[in-house]
């Protein structure tokens, strides 16, 4: 495999010091290949934003190495770091445009920093406005643009730096579903046409599904798993992966394999007291370890209503024992689900 454009090795980041120290990232190892769209997903607080900020060193990692395009970022002098950052574009959830500049002048901003003559910069900015499909808005101020339009301007602004890498920090999280799709298309298009490597940070599986080729799952600062999007979607190996792929609960089929559950029973609560500890009593009184596969129960005025799916071990006597026990309870009915499939 070719040399990766981004390589994070043994990356850790701690915030605060002494007793209040919080580990935001723990020993992260990721390699991102040139030209791919790499996704990093995790729930809020998982450390995604910190991770992406470690790539351009907006956050300095506590330990570990960050190599971007062959350069060890942590070893650069402030001046060299600023130079290196110019080839790493970044877009944000909050767009972060300069509110007192027009769309055109926002796009000119990085070229101004690079000392490009005004005339050339304006010409290039117009080209970029064309690419992001906002040619008519060159004199508009950000306050006059919609969220999606602002993000397009932000994308054009980073493209003005001719970056090698584009970091997207929850870039579509503030947008409605349709605009999100349009922006994702644009990012994908940029990746294909300009060969820019894209790193997408998101909490939405949808975004990963839509454009990423590979994905890393981050959970409480730990890298839970990495793989192609197909792999991870088909069979998430980690607990965090499963939670993300199946936010409404894991299909029973999978849990059954996982928990070595052979028999599934459905228990219906018909208004008995909600304070009856059924599962616990099953374990204590009958010695049957039941596994809750799914439940939809609610407590109405202290009375339990709804159903629950329990997985029981294969042992025939145990199943019979459990069924008998549950049947003996008031206001609860039970039936076996012979061949359960989601």
């Amino acid at each position: 495999m070719a040399e990766p454009i981004i390589r994070l090795t043994g990356l850790t980041k701690h915030f605060g010091g002494g007793e209040n120290e919080v580990a935001a990232l723990n020993d992260i190892n990721i390699e991102i290949q040139r030209g791919e769209i790499f996704g990093v997903i995790g729930l809020s607080g998982a450390g995604k934003s910190t991770l992406v900020r470690c790539i351009n060193l907006l956050e300095r990692p506590t330990t570990g190495s960050v190599v971007v395009d062959g350069k060890e970022m942590t070893a650069l002098s402030p001046k060299e770091l600023r130079q290196a950052r110019k080839s790493i574009g970044m877009i944000f959830q909050g767009f972060n445009l300069l509110m007192q500049r027009t769309a055109l002048d926002n796009i000119c901003f990085p070229m101004e920093l690079a000392g490009k003559p005004r005339k050339e910069a304006v010409a290039r900015a117009r080209e970029l406005l064309e690419i992001v499909d906002l040619a008519s808005k060159e004199n508009a101020y950000p306050a006059q643009l919609s969220g999606g339009q602002k993000q397009r301007i932000a994308i054009a602004r980073t493209l003005a730096m001719d970056p090698q890498v584009l970091l997207c920090d929850e870039a579509t999280s503030a947008l409605d579903p349709k605009t999100t799709r349009d922006i994702l298309r644009l990012i994908q298009d940029i990746n294909k046409r300009l060969g820019i490597t894209v790193v997408v940070i998101t909490h939405e599986m949808k975004v990963i599904e839509e454009i990423c080729s590979r994905v890393a799952i981050l959970d409480h600062g730990n890298l839970a798993e990495t793989g192609t999007v197909e792999e991870v979607f088909a069979s998430p190996k980690s607990e965090a992966g499963r939670r993300l792929v199946y936010p409404d609960g894991v299909p029973y089929e999978m849990l059954r394999q996982e928990a070595h559950t052979a028999r599934v029973i459905r228990v219906a609560f018909n208004g008995g007291t909600a304070y009856q500890p059924l599962i616990a009593s099953l374990a204590i009184d009958c010695g049957v370890k039941a596994n809750i596969l799914g439940a939809d129960t609610r407590n109405i005025d202290g009375r339990a209503f709804g159903t629950m799916l329990l997985g029981l071990p294969e042992d025939e006597t145990q199943v019979a024992k459990a069924m008998a026990y549950i049947r003996s309870q008031k206001d609860i009915t039970v039936e076996e689900v012979p061949d359960y499939h989601e």
Partner: protein
């Protein structure tokens, strides 16, 4: 003309001596001159106060621990203490205390020009705090975006923070100018000129009520003018609200 005025003042119950002296005083173009002195003192003192206060205010924001160019905590502590110290000394006391400094800088410790020194010294820390509070409104995300584009701290200050905070800085400038104008009114006590001195020395000191009122009225008018211009410029140059303004106009 002046006889009629004297008569008018006497008809208001002012005795002849006071009526005559006031009319004679006012007839000597003293009011336009006092206005000029007030404007000149205020403008110069504001200018010098910004020369010191603007960089100081910027440093107070950028130099702190989480700022874009952190400075040693001890230095920040010293700067903050100096600013607070200067702000806590009453202006009248400060004016007397810095007399030697005025003598050193402008060669004299009394008069209109000399009053610019204590005015600047009193206003600079005030300006620093005003600038500081404007810059603190800056969206951290925008600074982060600028950093991600490889901006140096200097570029962030000059190309991002100052232009982005322009409306708030203009509002601050307006407040500072008016504060300095009112400080300047006290400069009469060390022989400074202007409307303040006129009100204080002639109006209050000699019981020349008409002079007092005229001076105060012109001070009020000056403040109104400064405030109106400041607000108008701040609003007009703020690109964040242009959107709603055009909308409102269309709606009418």
């Amino acid at each position: 003309m002046s006889e009629k005025l004297i008569e008018l003042l006497m008809s208001w119950g002012i005795n002849e001596r006071l009526a005559t002296s006031q009319v004679e005083y006012l007839a000597g173009y003293t009011v336009p001159f006092a206005i000029w002195e007030t404007i000149y003192t205020t403008v110069l003192a504001t200018l010098f106060a910004y020369v010191i206060g603007l960089p100081l205010g910027i440093i107070l924001v950028t130099g702190e621990k989480a700022g874009i160019r952190p400075l040693p905590a001890a230095l920040m502590k010293v700067l903050n203490t100096i600013v607070n110290l200067l702000r806590s000394v009453p202006f009248l006391i400060l004016m007397v205390c810095v007399a030697p400094l005025s003598r050193l800088i402008v060669g004299t410790s009394i008069g209109t020009v000399a009053s610019i020194v204590p005015l600047t010294l009193a206003a600079a820390p005030f300006v620093a705090r005003v600038v500081e509070s404007s810059l603190r409104e800056m969206d951290r995300g925008v600074i982060e975006a600028a950093q991600s584009m490889g901006c140096s701290p200097w570029e962030i200050v000059t190309k991002v923070m100052l232009p982005e905070c322009r409306p708030s800085l203009i509002t601050g400038l307006t407040t500072a100018t008016i504060t300095i104008l009112s400080y300047g009114a006290m400069a009469g006590t060390i022989g400074g000129g202007g409307l303040g001195a006129m009100a204080l020395l002639r109006g209050h000191g000699r019981q020349e009520t008409v002079v007092l009122y005229i001076a105060v009225i012109f001070l009020v008018v000056l403040v109104q003018i400064i405030q109106s211009i400041g607000t108008a410029v701040a609003v007009k140059t703020d690109r964040r609200i242009q959107h709603t303004q055009t909308k409102r106009r269309k709606g009418k």
